[in-house]
């Protein structure tokens, strides 16, 4: 983990309020890790924890949704602008240990970390991506996935409903899930019925990003864990979801 100033390579709008920011970072990054990003000096006070979408030659890509003041500033970044980064942070996912048929399940911007995960996996990968608006970032997965199932509340031509309605854990050796807590909770429950191993990528508000402030605590069977350094990847059955 390192704190440094890096340059923007590109910042592309892919859908309403959804952007992909590429930063010139040469770090060795594990799938599922994230960075604290800050493209301002004093205001807002805190950096923003943003998951790694994809690692390419000398560039780390972040897919993010504009939600508030910080991500609004991120969305205005231009090539060669400066960004303070702290990272890579978190346990990440040992993608090489998974074999067989794997399901990636995302809700909304929870699709962000899934691309780097898909790139690191061997075996047959199916993506289930749910959106309440128009789908985004799907095309990038075609190279790595056998089947792609998309739901959208907004656009025609997609299944209308929850992604959990079209997913059957019985078919899979491993399930990896990132999205709203209510969705992750449901996926974990479904997987429990078939004893399918399931991993979830948690998020929370964070101040420090190094495990010091305890702001990002998450309830687990073993007590409070820090999403930043004990996670963000947890065994789904260990997490006590609040949703």
């Amino acid at each position: 983990m390192e704190y440094k100033e890096v340059l923007v390579y590109s910042n592309i709008k892919v859908e309403e309020d959804i952007y992909v920011l590429s930063l010139i970072i040469g770090d060795d990054v594990k799938a599922g890790q994230f960075y604290m990003l800050k493209a301002w000096d004093e205001e807002p006070i805190l950096a923003r924890p943003i998951s790694v979408h994809s690692v390419e030659d000398g560039v780390v890509k972040f897919a993010y949704q504009v939600k508030g003041r910080g991500t609004k500033i991120l969305s205005s970044l231009k090539p060669e602008d400066k960004v303070y980064v702290l990272g890579p942070i978190g346990n990440g996912l040992d993608t090489q240990k998974f074999k067989g048929k794997i399901a990636l399940i995302s809700g909304g911007i929870g699709i962000a970390p899934m691309l780097q995960i898909a790139k690191g996996l061997d075996g047959e990968i199916d993506l289930y991506a749910g959106f309440n608006k128009s789908p985004y970032l799907i095309d990038e997965f075609r190279k790595y996935c056998t089947n792609i199932y998309v739901t959208s509340e907004k656009d025609e031509g997609y299944f209308k409903g929850f992604i959990t309605e079209i997913f059957n854990p019985f078919e899979y050796n491993v399930v990896i899930c990132c999205g709203p807590e209510v969705m992750m909770k449901r996926v974990v429950e479904m997987c429990k019925n078939y004893a399918t191993p399931v991993y979830v990528l948690m998020e929370n508000k964070m101040a420090c990003g190094v495990g010091a402030c305890l702001g990002c605590a998450c309830n687990t069977k073993e007590g409070k864990k820090r999403v930043c350094v004990d996670g963000p990847v947890f065994k789904g059955t260990d997490v006590m979801f609040s949703a």
């Binding site: 983990m1 390192e2 704190y3 004093e42 205001e43 807002p44 006070i45 805190l46 950096a47 303070y84 702290l86 508000k205 964070m206 101040a207 420090c208 190094v210 495990g211 010091a212 402030c213 305890l214 702001g215 990002c216 605590a217 309830n219 007590g223 409070k224 350094v229 609040s242």
Partner: protein, 298 residues
């Protein structure tokens, strides 16, 4: 040039990291050279392990942040077993921040810390006092005085009392704590604040209120440090919204012997190091040979 003697302890510079913003130091060692700091203050410790608060724990606001961590900590025994040795390897003074919810807990905690080789205890009197009906020890100086007196009697370690800015009268609070045996005063802790989620139509925090820190509180914290420094004859450690060396120098000119960096660690993990360097450069530019020349000059 930056060295400070405080309660008989040699600090190589006046810049410490505030309790709760720096864990036990190790968390930051990959990012900064922790041994360059003036000293380390532990995460708030209680006699027994505490899981802390449920729900949202931090919330950013303009000019600062609110926190409601709820003193999550491993408890004093586990701190001594697992973390103290690791903190000592940086070779800087270690100050244990002690919290509690009853006088008995404070006393037992102080007794255990007394047997370790920590350098100082910072007594956090801003926690809820269950026996007094949920009132903070840090609000009424008569209540605070009792806690300080009891803890004073249970340890020979230098005792610094950390004041809450929510005290009814901050100067009277400081004076009473010194009367009760405090060797030093640190101030200020966070200001009681709140935020509301307008879509859910309820407070953001489960406890409704939370502690405000960050640059927004600096002018008030500075005023309090100024007033207290004038009123007590023990050294003062100032904190509250310090984010750069200029803020730090202001606190020193207001009378602080030491200062603590809190929220700024989150804004920039290198903040404390940059503040040390900034104070040094300022002193060179202004031809100041020792902090004694400017301390309390205002």
């Amino acid at each position: 040039m930056l060295d400070v003697k405080f309660c008989g302890i040699d600090f190589k510079n006046p810049v410490l990291v505030a309790s709760g913003t720096f864990g036990f130091g190790m968390e930051y060692e990959k990012i900064i050279d922790v041994s360059r700091l003036g000293g380390l203050i532990t995460k708030g410790l209680t006699l027994n392990k505490k899981e802390g608060n449920e729900g949202i724990r931090i919330h950013e606001v303009r000019g600062g942040m609110l926190n409601s961590i709820g003193l999550q900590n491993p408890g004093i025994d586990e701190f001594i077993e697992k973390y103290l040795e690791g903190m000592k390897k940086y070779g800087v003074p270690i100050i244990a921040n002690l919290g509690g919810s009853s006088i008995e807990d404070y006393v037992k905690g102080a007794e255990r810390l007394d047997k370790t080789d920590i350098d100082m205890i910072e007594l956090n009197i801003s926690c809820p006092n269950v026996k007094e009906g949920g009132m903070n020890f840090g609000i009424k100086s008569s209540v605070a005085k009792e806690v300080v007196k009891s803890v004073r009697a249970s340890t020979k370690k230098p005792l610094m009392v950390k004041l809450s800015p929510n005290a009814e009268d901050i100067v009277d609070m400081a004076v009473k704590c010194v009367e009760a045996g405090a060797d030093a005063i640190s101030l200020v802790n966070t200001f009681k604040g709140m935020a509301i989620d307008i879509y859910k139509r309820r407070p953001v925090f489960n406890n409704t209120f939370a502690g405000l820190s960050g640059p927004a509180i600096k002018p008030i914290a500075l005023r309090m440090v100024y007033e207290v420094s004038k009123a007590v004859d023990v050294p003062v450690c100032g904190l509250g919204g310090i984010i750069d060396y200029k803020d730090a120098v202001e606190f020193i000119m207001a009378g602080a012997h030491l200062i603590q960096i809190g929220t700024a660690n989150f804004m920039n993990p290198r903040a404390s190091i940059e503040i040390i360097e900034g104070i040094e450069r300022f002193m060179e530019r202004e031809n100041i040979k020792s902090l004694d020349e400017i301390r309390g000059i205002v």
